[in-house]
Symmetry: C2
Subunit: 344 residues, 2 copies
């Protein structure tokens, strides 16, 4: 019961903060949202939320601000999808329908997406080169060091040294090797990356077979090596002018972002593996692999003809962002683009 209200409070905080860009206090909160309780009650809830790490105060006696964890909860459980208006839908389709060829589709998508979301848009060109994983080998060099060898159908070989966070027995290694082979062999790179990540036990539960992050270390190294091989894939970036809206927090936020936008390899990693079918991936703040981009979020999804996730598109923006609106815009554009590819 109170749990519900606490979540409502969190939701209200996120919404207000996103709208006003200012820490939000208990009084303002009860006024602007119709929660039927007093500010004092809200304060108690806030204290709990802060303990649990969903919000913080920039300084004592200021309002509260959502943390990454708070945004995460909001995105996962609290936000309701904000459907596109009819006008927006029409704008999208008319804007994209004029495209003459694939390049034009991508160019227009990038522009459209950046205008809809007022963020920096990133669209990966649908890749036609579909190199697959031929083989993966894991060789134990010592109980805590492993050599991972990746062989692609193009004949390219990539090897990486993995420093393990814990010892790995022969048996466990054999186990891991077969799991990895099972997941990756024969797959297109993008799929291999996704399947590998899915194969990782989310939380290595306690017990005799806990692996202390060994699996994770191996999988991430492999995924990393694979994603390096997507670097020849082309990318279009648009709406960088929206960065000018960042206003404060400048050098800290915009500079690394601008750098990332030029490093297409980095961008590809940020966009992550393509997910398809209406699922929009959200990466919030420090969840990503780059700590310089701790104050930015990525909203992305896969697209492609016949619901085949050929490529990824999405936006990069500040963590303080209208997630529902952005997510639905990204999803809508991905759908329309997919449909166009279907027809073409």
């Amino acid at each position: 019961m109170q749990e519900d209200r606490r979540l409502a409070v969190l939701r209200a905080i996120v919404e207000d903060y996103v709208a006003t860009e200012e820490p939000v206090g208990s009084k303002a909160l009860v006024e602007r949202h119709g929660l039927g309780v007093s500010p004092a009650t809200v304060r108690n809830d806030m204290a709990v939320l802060e303990d649990e790490g969903y919000i913080t105060q920039p300084h004592t006696s200021a309002g509260r601000v959502p943390t990454d964890k708070g945004y995460r909860l909001f995105v996962d459980r609290l936000s309701t999808v904000k459907p596109m208006t009819g006008a927006e839908k029409r704008a999208i389709s008319s804007f994209l329908d004029g495209a003459v060829d694939l390049d034009d589709v991508v160019t227009r998508s990038v522009r459209l997406l950046s205008q809809l979301t007022r963020q920096v848009a990133v669209v990966q060109y649908p890749t036609l080169s579909r190199s697959t994983v031929r083989h993966v080998e894991l060789v134990a060099l010592s109980p805590t060091r492993l050599l991972a060898v990746l062989i692609l159908s193009t004949g390219r070989v990539e090897q990486r040294l993995v420093e393990l966070p814990a010892e790995l027995s022969e048996d466990a290694l054999a186990d891991l090797r077969s799991q990895v082979l099972q997941a990756a062999t024969g797959q297109v790179i993008a799929d291999a990356v996704r399947r590998l990540r899915e194969a990782v036990p989310e939380s290595p539960g306690p017990g005799p077979d806990r692996d202390d992050g060994v699996t994770r270390a191996v999988v991430e190294t492999l995924a990393d090596a694979m994603e390096d091989h997507r670097s020849d894939e082309r990318i279009a970036v648009g709406g960088a002018a929206n960065l000018a809206r960042y206003g404060d927090s400048f050098d800290s936020a915009v500079r690394p972002l601008l750098e990332a936008l030029e490093e297409h390899v980095v961008l590809l990693k940020l966009l992550g593996e393509a997910t398809v079918g209406g699922t929009v991936t959200v990466r919030i703040g420090a969840e990503g692999p780059y700590e310089e981009l701790a104050s930015t979020s990525v909203v992305a999804t896969g697209y492609g003809p016949r619901d085949e996730a050929l490529a990824t598109l999405g936006i990069v923006g500040p963590t303080r962002m209208d997630y529902p609106g952005t997510m639905s815009a990204v999803r809508a554009v991905a759908r329309y683009v997919s449909r166009i590819l279907d027809e073409g």
Copy 2:
């Protein structure tokens, strides 16, 4: 005599201001540069320079800051070329020598240029499409209105209406037409633009045949139409992260620049016509056609094999910029790239 010193003062002001980013006062000036006179004298000189429009003060009782006109004079007459150091030369050549194909050359050039100058670098891909001007027609609609028709070898036709700033007689029109035809017919677009501009009488001297800017209006319209047809040419941009150094004056300067960087047509116009043979073109502040970019300058030059100006490269930066260093960097990179194209 005093004239010389005044120029020395201007030069010192520009150098100091570029270095410190702060308005420079008379006292600091005599201290830091060895002009053998007193601050009072310098003040008198400054007053004159301000009257002539070379410098201004941001507010009363502040130091002086160069105006666009001041920078112009500095660039044209006061600055000495700052030759590249041996280390820099070696860095350039080793960086570019590793390039494997044309795309790689361009990509590397952009990166190199942005690192050398710490500005945003722009490199136009050498154009292989060489459409030429087949014909130009000027039709008088009224004494002050003219229809300019441009026919390209590709068969494309472009027409523009020109509003003349003064009346144009039949004779003068015939004259102008033949001049224009002479300059443009059969030329590659880039060359046609340059030749046209060269054919414009720089200052329409007084006398019976002064043309009150009529020629200029016509030529600029034609050049504009031609440059629109370069829009299919590709461009590489790099070093946008250097924009983060702008620090203050943000929305006013960076936003329009970011927008321009995405509009490749605009960029091509900014780069302007290719000049070759060590000549570096500098466009300062409001001299350019875009008033939103009033606080930015462009330093560019042409490049290409066999001193044939195939394409343009350069940088875009704040008017407050180290012109000598930037110009020599741009020139050096252009030379090396040209040489590489020569060999390839």
